[in-house]
């Protein structure tokens, strides 16, 4: 564990919801492979039915809707974290092949595979001897 801020960060720039819930910024890891970008976002409480991924031009938006996290008939006696939705927006620099984007949600973690479009993949150009 690092000494990073371990508290959830509220997303103050997110558009306000009709439902009275807070919106948090999901923590993400992004890594780049030769053919794709991988984005992994922590969204505890969200599942495949409540996560939405939108890509408009090069703006990628991820949402996760989370139920209020209350336990029926129980009273909250001590609280260190709050429960709310997740929202985050990224600007992608590379052209992404939007038809081939794959998304999975497992154990509250969204994993996105964003394959690079054919035309932006680096092409090796053979040099012929003059």
């Amino acid at each position: 564990m690092s000494d990073k801020d371990l508290q959830k960060t509220e997303n103050v720039t997110a558009t306000e919801r009709i439902r009275n819930v807070k919106t948090f910024v999901p923590r993400v890891d992004i890594y780049e492979a030769k053919d794709s970008l991988y984005l992994i976002a922590d969204m505890p409480g969200a599942d495949e039915k409540t996560v939405d991924v939108e890509l408009e031009k090069n703006i990628l938006k991820i949402y996760g809707r989370v139920e209020n996290g209350k336990i029926k008939d129980h009273a909250l006696v001590f609280s260190e974290y709050e429960v709310g939705d997740y929202e985050r927006t990224f600007t992608l620099s590379d052209e992404i092949d939007r038809d081939k984007i794959k998304a999975t949600v497992k154990q509250g973690v969204l994993k996105l595979e964003l394959p690079k479009a054919e035309k932006v993949k680096p092409k090796k150009i053979a040099i012929s001897v003059a």
């Binding site: 890891d29 890594y31 780049e32 492979a33 006696v77 001590f78």
Partner: protein, 146 residues
Amino acid sequence: MFGPSILRMKRFADSIPEIIDLQREINKLFSNVGHGTTSDYPAVNVWEKDNSLVVTTELPGIDPENINISVTGATLTIAGVSKSDILKEGETYLRQEREMGHFQRNIPLPYQVDSKAVEAKYEKGILKIMLPRQQEDLPKKIKINP
């Protein structure tokens, strides 16, 4: 801040998140370290009903096999390890914000719990531990003889 007498806060139960937030803000003002030390991870919420406690915590993407929960008397220990994807040759991280590595947290409970009856559930990245109070530890009603 998390003393053994957490139930003392019960009368403010509805406003606890606000109070904790306020306390955190005040702590931040007086300390350069900021909030959230490793010993405070993972953050927990504690719920109560009659004579049982429920502890919930957000631990996204951790294999339940890598989470160890133990109860000794009135202390609950949550330990584990979160692992990141192993990158192949030529792959590089552009951003790394998720919590990775080992963690352990001891949580003092307001009373002894029946360690045999403790149950845990892991769903959608949220760990929920049900802790019933030990029968012998229940407050006894004392009859007053005339």
